[in-house]
Amino acid sequence: MAEIKLPENKLNQLKEVAKSFNNDGGELINVLHKAQEIFGYLPAEVQEVVAKELNVSVAHVYGVVSFYSFFTMTPKGKHPISICLGTACYVRGAEKVLDEFRKLLKIQVGETTPDGKFSLSGLRCVGACGLAPVVTIGEKVYGRVAPDGVKEILAEYKD
């Protein structure tokens, strides 16, 4: 993969974050949360900076990033779509909803549309089981989603 040039201002922001956590390796997960907020994702270049700042090995950082599903090494779409695949949503038909998103967006779970607009991921329970099946797009939560309602939801994000 081609090397990514990280913007200077964001790099400085990240170094500040590391400093605010006393450059302590034990704070790695907290620092990664912040790093993902700053860059939107955690490419190898960001992981290298984090490792250096916290004085831990890059392998250790990579081990942690790849372990936790919240961290991503590929950029998310402008509108990240998550489909709840918890049990309550599953028994109320979440799989069919997911299939519909896959079909309409022509991407698989974990992928982003070529125009960078949507990304698709599975999610384990947002705890709004009363609204099952649940889909979240960005911060917005959609409840009781039916497969034939998927088109309409996507239409909200036409721009």
Binding site: G25, G26, E27, L28, I29, N30, L32, H33, H60, G63, V64, F67, Y68, S69, F70, F71, L85, G86, T87, A88, Y90, V91, R92, L123, R124, C125, V126, G127, A128, C129, G130, L131, A132, V134, V141, Y142, G143
Partner: protein
């Protein structure tokens, strides 16, 4: 504080907020101001009421009127009629499904009648972002009593006698756990709250943190006093932004009130709490994995002993309890262990919060005394099965639990009975399933979860569960053999006996319990290649009934793989070799001539 004659409580839990409860608060306030009633009634955004099925909920105090499925457009009418004229808005009241009558008072709703709310006592009652409301409900009184009137031994004695057991899954006696940490000598000890609620379908911890965060902070401070810890850590899922936000507010307020920090309430006890964020790993609910995650490492479990009570966070003695366990503690201190022990069964005391979900009429959060039967929970509180379908099973304990069936409906729910029935309490998720759910597919669903979430440290869990999943996949595709069924059981037993941590050891439970309780369904899949629930796609056959088919060609034109043939105005036929079982033809047929067999 200003005094109001009436209060409008609006649910601010994640579910109701997703259905616009923010806008409802705004509209109610606007309607009150427009009528000059802003000093008559106050709008409060509270935590979860539990009755998520009919959210968003607005409750009016003092008369307990319970309005369901309120929209911002209804707010003007509520204010004009109820607050101004004192007349209830009948169309928004809950309708009793039995007699179709409006129920105006939440106390008379079937959903609430059998509940006793201890852990959820303040959820849906107070503004979680205002510490004064918590204090007005006896909040921090238990901490005061402990610090000023009791010794740590007395508190431990109370807790042990109360019979409280861990609500996170294992059911270990809480008082004993605290005592173990207390006994170890160390310069620094830690108190941890496990808020990494990872069970899909369980959301009680989130609701407590969103609705009553101070109850957890108070109990953690009491824990610190008893065990000798001065530092508390809450490990919470990053997926719960609202709970995190409310915790941050609660921590700030508690410090301002001198209820956390140096010399609490003038005593020589000092204690403070920090937040730590999870990053989406189910295994981090296991306490050793959780501790490693808090240390900034991969959340992999380690062998016990040493237990965290001896060597936990940073190698120091650490006491880990779950959110719901903590929420019970202040009440036990205030009301006494005799009171708490009088609720529940012989070996399981108090209440348990369950998240009812799935194919049930009243999805929501409930709290019932231990010993309540599944029948009471599902039919009386839960309002029975959705769409009048047949009850098939209820899954408890999440991916570590099992499926219970109609024969268990009258079993009193407690830790030991659930284990005897092949499931477990877990954190309290209860997913109800009906005749349309295939139990083999459900077992496969849970294994998929386990395979994805296995941390990979020990091979029985990493490889064994993968093999279990492959066998289940084979069976649901209609390629299973009798030998596969035998292998399923044997391999499950091996994983149970040899996996490293509690999660691995319980991961085959969904397979074993469905094998035990739904053996016939497995047999049908293997010998008859039939899925009675019609879930396993590969076993479905779409067939056109020649007598009903008029030959309109709609199905043939819409079949994406051209599997349907036939002359116009004559009965059509589906070629089973080509059919991909997408169901498009059934949807397009206006004459109900296509059936699934």
């Amino acid at each position: 504080m200003a005094k109001y004659n009436q209060h409008l409580l609006v649910c601010g839990g994640t579910g109701c907020r997703a259905s616009q409860s923010d806008a409802i608060v705004e509209s109610l306030n606007r309607a009150l101001t427009e009528r000059g009633l802003e000093n008559e009634a106050k709008v409060v955004m509270t935590g979860c009421f539990g009755f998520c099925e009919k959210g968003p909920i607005v409750k009016v105090l003092p008369d307990n009127t319970f309005y369901t499925q309120v929209t911002p457009a209804d707010c003007d009418e509520i204010v004009a009629e109820h607050i101004f004229k004192g007349r209830k808005v009948n169309r928004l009241l809950y309708t009793d499904p039995e007699n179709q009558e409006h129920v105006s008072d939440s106390k008379h709703m079937g959903f609430y009648r059998k509940q006793i709310r201890i852990a959820l006592r303040n959820c849906g009652f107070i503004d979680p972002e205002n510490i004064e409301e918590y204090i007005a409900r006896d909040g921090y009184a238990a901490l005061g009593k402990v610090l000023l009137e009791m010794t740590p031994e007395q508190v431990l004695d109370d807790l042990i006698k109360s019979g409280l057991r861990g609500r996170g899954g294992g059911g270990f006696p809480t008082g004993l756990k605290w005592q173990l940490t207390r006994k170890v000598q160390a310069d620094q000890k830690y108190v941890v709250c496990n808020a990494d609620e990872g069970d899909p379908g369980a959301f009680m911890d989130r609701s407590i943190l969103e609705g009553d965060p101070h109850s957890v902070l108070e109990a953690m401070a009491i824990n610190g006093f008893c065990t000798g810890a001065t530092k508390g850590l809450i490990y919470i899922r990053a997926e719960y932004p609202l709970a995190i936000n409310r915790l941050k507010i609660a921590l700030k307020q508690a410090r301002e009130f001198g209820l956390l920090g140096e010399n609490i309430l003038g005593s020589d006890f000092s204690f403070d709490i920090e937040l730590r964020y999870g990053a989406g790993a189910f295994v981090c609910g296991e306490e050793t994995a959780l501790i490693h995650s808090m240390e900034g490492m991969r959340g992999e479990p380690t062998f016990k002993p040493p237990f965290p009570s001896e060597s936990g966070y940073m190698g120091k003695p650490t006491n880990v309890n779950n959110v719901e366990t903590y929420a019970n503690i202040p009440v036990i201190i205030l009301k006494g262990h005799e009171w708490f022990a009088s609720i529940g069964t012989e070996k399981s005391k108090g209440t348990k919060v369950f998240a009812l979900a799935g194919k049930i009429n009243n999805v929501g959060l409930i709290e019932v005394p231990m010993g309540t039967t599944l029948r009471e929970v599902i039919y009386e509180i839960g309002g029975g099965i959705k769409d009048g379908k047949q009850f098939k099973a209820v899954q408890t304990g999440g991916p570590s639990g099992g499926c219970l069936t109609a024969k268990h409906l009258d079993t009193p729910i407690d830790y030991d009975n659930l284990i005897a029935a092949g499931s477990m309490m877990g954190s309290g998720g209860m997913i109800v399933m009906d005749e349309d759910d295939c139990m083999v597919a459900i077992a496969k669903f849970y294994l998929e979860f386990t395979v994805e979430e296995s941390c990979g440290k020990c091979s029985p869990c990493r490889i064994g569960n993968k093999r279990l999943h492959e066998i289940l996949e084979k069976i649901t595709k209609g390629e299973g053999t009798m030998e596969d069924l035998e292998n399923l059981r044997n391999l499950s037993q091996v994983i149970k006996d040899t996996a490293l941590c509690g999660l691995g050891q319980t991961s085959p439970n969904p397979v074993l319990s469905t094998l035990d309780n739904f053996w016939e369904e497995y047999l049908e899949h293997v010998t008859e290649k039939k899925c009675r629930a019609g879930v396993c796609k590969h076993m479905l056959r779409y067939v056109i009934e020649p007598d009903a088919c008029v030959g309109c060609t709609a199905c043939a034109r819409n079949c994406p793989v051209n599997a349907i043939s036939g002359e116009r105005k004559k009965a059509h036929e589906i070629n089973q070799e080509i059919c991909i079982k997408c169901g498009a033809c059934v949807e397009k047929c206006k004459f109900n001539a296509i059936f699934v067999r």
